[in-house]
Symmetry: C2
Subunit: 132 residues, 2 copies
């Protein structure tokens, strides 16, 4: 499985939200998300991109009457993991800690979320002390 480009990632995100979907649906949603002043993406542009993604096996498609229905071939979780791993390697010298701090610092997480992270940390610590 290969690394999706930016354009491909945008389409994958939409497919993760709702799939299967037609090219028309995806293209409409892409343009709905465009902020004012930004040029619209042509239908055939989206079509071509999705055809290429099918070639690369990033998505699969089935004929449904006149149109094609597309579904993602990689899960969101899988892809998030790959993105995080790459960011860790390229920008944080593999230090998850530094990345975590930057992520927490920038966004306002709720106390509940912080608690959940604590629980996860505890779980990790437990695994470490018992895995031998």
């Amino acid at each position: 499985m290969q690394k999706p480009t930016n354009g491909e990632l945008e389409i994958l995100r939409l497919l993760w939200q709702e799939s299967p979907a037609t090219v028309r649906q995806i293209n409409d949603r892409i343009n709905a998300n465009r902020r004012k002043g930004q040029k619209e993406v042509g239908y055939t542009t989206t079509l071509k991109l999705m055809q290429i993604m099918a070639d690369k096996d990033l998505v699969s498609r089935t004929r449904e009457g006149k149109t094609h229905l597309y579904s993602p071939n990689i899960s969101e979780a899988e892809s998030q993991q790959a993105l995080v791993d790459r960011l860790l390697e390229t920008a944080f010298q593999g230090s998850a800690m530094k990345l975590v701090m930057k992520a927490l610092g920038s966004s306002q997480s709720s106390p509940q979320e912080l608690d959940e992270i604590r629980r996860y940390l505890d779980q990790l610590s437990d695994e470490k002390s018992s895995d031998r």
Copy 2:
């Protein structure tokens, strides 16, 4: 300040480790990091890239005898923050928590690091409860 490309980011990383540096030094280190079988990057390739970066104001340079000395114009912290923010937006719908969990899950952090993150979480919680 604009978003660095992949190649530019590689050079910035090296400059963050040690600057100022010459094109020769950077190019040598780029090739030293190349894993076996991977084609070497030509000197003029690196030169051109660094010239472009100077045009874009990603780096600044001063003449030093025959050569140029390059320094980064953005800090590592600043750039890491930008990368994390972008990843948060594009791949995690803004949920720092999900990103944090993925980051922690993939890499083996030491118990010390996990503790440090706990302290940081506590600090964040304190700020929340006292900032009104």
